[in-house]
Symmetry: C2
């Protein structure tokens, strides 16, 4: 991790954020972010650009795709590591802040749809490497969302992570009891014709079937042994 | 707000979320969401589609633009209301969960860039209508993010909302002292050639200049009086 003294400011192009951009500039900070989320008043993006140009800072205007970079899963210049899912080498597969982004989008949809529940399939095997899969993150996210959508969501809209304390082999058992067609699931990070069998998520997948004592129908390209 | 018993599940197409989708289906829930965030293993989106088709649920696969709907600011079928910014009629301008989405994206960028600060320009005038502009939301979001990026961000990465307890007229005073060119800011929700002068954000803008006793250089299309 490169230690810089950067700041990421959300700049819409309105009075408040333009003032904020100038204030940050005076403090020596320099990265400003505008998000194109399909707003009708997209004209503001032009004004954001003018402001940032004026203070001489960097400006990113982006939609969601392309915002998550620097990780092996989204950046083709970073190699997908082989090995066990819980190993330190797997750190390169962490997409910065992915679950917070996905969940906040899901809560936006839940409010618009009048839904009462948002769910995510994180499990205990994710905890060593992925901080945004741990129970304390889930609880903090739920608490934040109750404040964020207060008065706009269905009363009691909540976040549930039903597998958060289970191992992946427990999930295999649950799915097996439901008769799930595992061949219709995909997770290999390398994304060839078949599952590679050696990347972290393939190793984890094979291990889960073994521990659950459930036959693994996956066709692997090569053996991890 | 339509009261339904919907659930929004994040479904990637892997074993965990496919099991989750089947479990939700058994419980009578039915909206599944997959997000295209530029992942290299986009093949998983096809598998997510297969799963959701199998359980007979609704499936949305989307990038960020278009995800935020049902609000006057993103949906051309909803009329932008006139009136005072703090009135109940302004509720239709609330984009569901916008600040949580923008901030989570900003924290993702901050981690990737090694930044130490994320900032947002919310102020006290936003509080009556927008729950995601209030101090308790800002504090809860900051607490959530410390957990979400633990071990991946610069130590001490934090969220700052320097205007959260100020009125918009205070921001005008701050900007005025810095000599900001206010004509280079834009916020009118109607987005004509000039600021309309009558939508909530234009009314708020005019009022802020008056309260701050700072000349307002904005050209308004029509008078709100």
């Amino acid at each position: 991790m490169e230690e810089t003294s950067g700041a990421v400011a959300i700049v819409s192009g309105g009075m408040d954020t333009v003032t904020l951009a100038h204030q940050l500039d005076a403090q020596g900070y320099g990265l400003h972010l505008s998000v194109d989320y399909g707003q009708r008043h997209r004209k503001e993006l032009e004004f954001a650009k003018r402001t940032v140009g004026r203070v001489g800072a960097r400006h990113d205007v982006r939609g969601l795709a392309g915002l998550l970079h620097g990780a092996a899963l989204t950046d083709a210049t970073v190699q997908v590591p082989d090995g066990h899912y819980a190993e330190a080498s797997m750190r390169s597969t962490v997409v910065p802040n992915r679950n917070a982004i996905l969940l906040s989008v899901a809560f936006g949809v839940a409010v618009a749809e009048g839904a009462e529940l948002v769910t995510i399939g994180v499990h205990a095997g994710d905890h060593p490497i992925y901080p945004d899969c741990r129970p304390d993150f889930i609880a903090a996210f739920d608490a934040m969302q109750r404040l964020a959508t207060d008065g706009y969501s269905v009363a009691g809209l909540r976040l549930d992570a039903p597998f958060v304390k289970l191992g992946k082999h427990d999930i295999v058992r649950i799915g097996h009891e439901r008769g799930l067609p595992w061949e219709d699931t995909w997770r290999c990070y390398k994304c060839g014709d078949a599952h590679c069998g050696t990347c972290g998520t393939c190793v984890e997948r094979r291990e889960a079937f073994e521990l659950a004592e459930v036959p693994d129908p996956t066709v692997y390209q090569e053996s991890a042994e």
